[in-house]
């Protein structure tokens, strides 16, 4: 870890105190995980504290951890205990020239809600709409939380791991009714290359 990132970690600890959930530094990137209750308060400190000064929110995205580490990509009905949905944002400080990844897990898996960052960084607006659209994460305090990328009248949240890649409905022009209609999908989902997680050092010489 470079001296600069060391300093960033120190500044984070001193500025945030016990609000820090965990700080992890890997691959030259710092990841800060905070509790959902502290989320917007932490974000405000990250922007305004002179030792941090993250002026820009570069990216915000939803992540569904439901199938993390599972071998098959097929969805399995299991009671999910661990927090499933997270909002991950990437912050950038122009004045200090450093980056930070901020992660917050939503408390309730069936009704994920986190605070909106729109009042702190206006660029969060569309990113949060996108995360709501694709993952169904609700952002409390967002003034205009509409769907953004999917079709008008779309049902479901397509980037969740339990949403099939083929979707549920397909659209075609019906010559009899003389209009475009929706119908259940007729294609079967298939997987050409299976998803595989190998044990460590797989395939190295001497290990078969």
């Amino acid at each position: 870890m470079s001296a600069k990132l060391e300093k960033l970690c120190q500044n984070l600890r001193s500025a945030l105190g016990d609000r820090v959930g965990s700080i992890n530094c890997a691959l030259d990137e710092v990841t800060l995980v905070v509790a959902v209750a502290d989320y917007s308060a932490v974000a405000k400190i990250l922007r305004d504290h002179p030792d941090l000064r993250f002026e820009q929110l570069i990216d915000l995205c939803g992540v569904d951890y439901a199938a993390y580490g599972e071998v098959t990509s097929a969805w399995q009905e299991e009671p999910a205990v661990a927090p499933r949905f997270a909002a991950v944002s990437h912050l950038l400080s122009i004045s200090h020239n450093w980056r930070l990844r901020l992660r917050v897990f939503a408390a309730d898996n069936s009704f994920p809600v986190v605070d909106s960052l729109t009042p702190i960084w206006n660029s969060a607006n569309w990113f949060e709409r996108e995360a709501f659209d694709l993952f169904g994460i609700l952002f409390e305090g967002h003034t205009d939380l509409r769907r953004i990328l999917t079709d008008y009248g779309f049902i479901g949240h397509p980037f969740r791991k339990d949403f099939p890649i083929s979707g549920y409905v397909e659209m075609r022009y019906d010559a009899d009714q003389k209009r475009v209609i929706y119908q259940p999908v007729t294609i079967e989902p298939r997987e050409v290359t299976p998803r595989i997680i190998r044990e460590e050092n797989y395939g190295d010489s001497g290990r078969g």
Partner: protein, 417 residues
């Protein structure tokens, strides 16, 4: 008859000035925009979800199709993110090749951006000139990658193959007579690097031509100066990057501030605007093309002197050469496993952001150790820029909304992903 105050106008999704499938719902007071609500997603292909179903290598061509006006540079952050997770070092020659093509792509992108923006505001000829140069660039891409647009050239660990020693030449056909072919082939008589060098020598002259056509053009200035002004603070708040941020006077360029690949060895300047209006952003883009030209020149000079490998020698990441694969059992196994099962990327997460022609283009990869990404998030600059449409267009005329769309340099493959 009741007096109508505000009315709503539907702009697009098939409007030629919308730069693709943008549906813009404009609330108007007379001819003045009161509220602009862009409806996007008409080109949404769920690239991020598709990538979760494919091995790391299979997703490379999808990245080309995001911003289809600047193709190769899109692949760059994706392969960089994979390389970071794998912890591999890319051969220097491959880094130079990538940087050279990033800059060629930047010119490719700005030529389209400036040409079509001029077209939108009524200057018909510009686009004809800029497309003449884009043709040369498409030829470079074709010679190197085999495709004029969607190259799929960058690989985790390097690039797919070395630069060709000979530039393909035109032949006489029913569209091109002997005289045209002769003049076209003059620059194409040597290698690809000769052709690129010849282009970099010609290009500043072309830039002067564009500037003659536009920079002091009265109509151009009337349409662009003081339109869509964004202050530096607002630009940061709205998440602007690239020329949009530099046009507002913030000196921020990832190539200088967080250098990746070999940008720290190259000599170039960062143009910055002062007023943050559409005209400043045009000037920034113009100067960026000249600077990109300078970088290409330096890359060509370096590449001539330093032959070497263009992809890593680690056969768990990059395939072995074909001759070796045919002769050795072990290499055959490597080849087979690499193309059937793919690369296994260690568990972890990485964000790689680069200075794309449009702004910061980033790829956020989460891997759980499988042969496919667990989650890939694409951060495209145009998406963030378009989200500021309402703020930028408010109080302007309808015709200025077109200028503002043009200055954002949006491409819908990139916005909708």
């Amino acid at each position: 008859m009741a007096e109508i105050q505000n009315y709503t106008l539907n702009f697009g999704p098939q409007h030629p000035a919308a730069h693709g499938v943008l549906r813009l719902v404009l609330e108007l007071d007379g001819e003045m925009v009161v509220r602009a609500d862009p409806h996007i997603g008409l080109l949404h292909r769920a690239t991020e979800k598709l990538a979760e179903q494919k091995t790391f290598l299979q997703s490379v061509p999808y990245l080309d199709r995001l911003d289809y006006t600047s193709m190769l540079i899109n692949e760059h952050p994706y392969v960089m993110a994979i390389e970071r997770l794998l912890g591999i070092e890319v051969p220097l020659r491959a880094q130079y090749i990538r940087v050279m093509f990033d800059e060629i792509t930047r010119i490719h992108n700005h030529l389209l951006s400036i040409g079509t923006q001029a077209l939108d505001v009524g200057a018909m000829t510009m686009v004809l000139y800029t497309f003449r140069e884009r043709e040369d660039i498409a030829d470079m891409m074709e010679a190197t990658t085999g495709a004029r647009m969607h190259g799929a050239y960058y690989r985790p660990g390097g690039v797919y193959r070395d630069l060709p020693g000979q530039m393909p030449r035109y032949e006489v056909n029913k569209f091109k007579n002997a005289k045209t072919v002769k003049s076209l082939n003059e620059a194409r008589s040597g290698s690809l690097l000769d052709f690129i060098e010849d282009f970099t020598n010609r290009f500043p002259g072309y830039c002067d031509d564009y500037e003659t056509l536009l920079t002091d053009n009265r109509i151009w200035k009337q349409r662009l100066v003081d339109i869509g002004i964004v202050s530096a603070e607002r630009a940061l708040q709205l998440g602007f990057t690239g020329p949009m941020l530099r046009g507002s006077g913030v000196e921020w360029d990832l190539r200088k501030k967080q250098p990746y690949e070999v940008y720290d060895r190259l000599d170039f300047d960062i143009p910055v605007g002062t007023n943050g209006d559409c005209y400043d952003r045009y000037l920034v883009r113009m100067e960026e093309m000249r600077q990109a030209n300078r970088i290409i020149k330096q890359c060509v000079a370096w590449l001539r002197e330093h032959p070497g490998p263009v992809i890593v020698d680690n056969h768990k990441v990059a395939p072995p050469p074909r001759e070796k694969m045919k002769g050795s059992m072990e290499e055959l196994i490597h080849h087979f496993k690499l193309f059937t099962e793919g690369i296994h990327v260690p568990a972890g997460e990485a964000y790689a952001g680069i200075e794309h022609a449009k702004g910061e283009f980033g790829v956020y990869l989460i891997s759980d150790g499988a042969n496919k990404p667990y989650r890939m998030k694409l951060r495209s600059a145009a998406f963030t820029h378009l989200s500021a449409m309402d703020e930028m267009a408010k109080g302007h005329m309808i015709a200025d909304a077109v200028t503002i769309i043009g200055t954002m340099d949006i491409v819908f493959g990139d916005v909708d992903r």
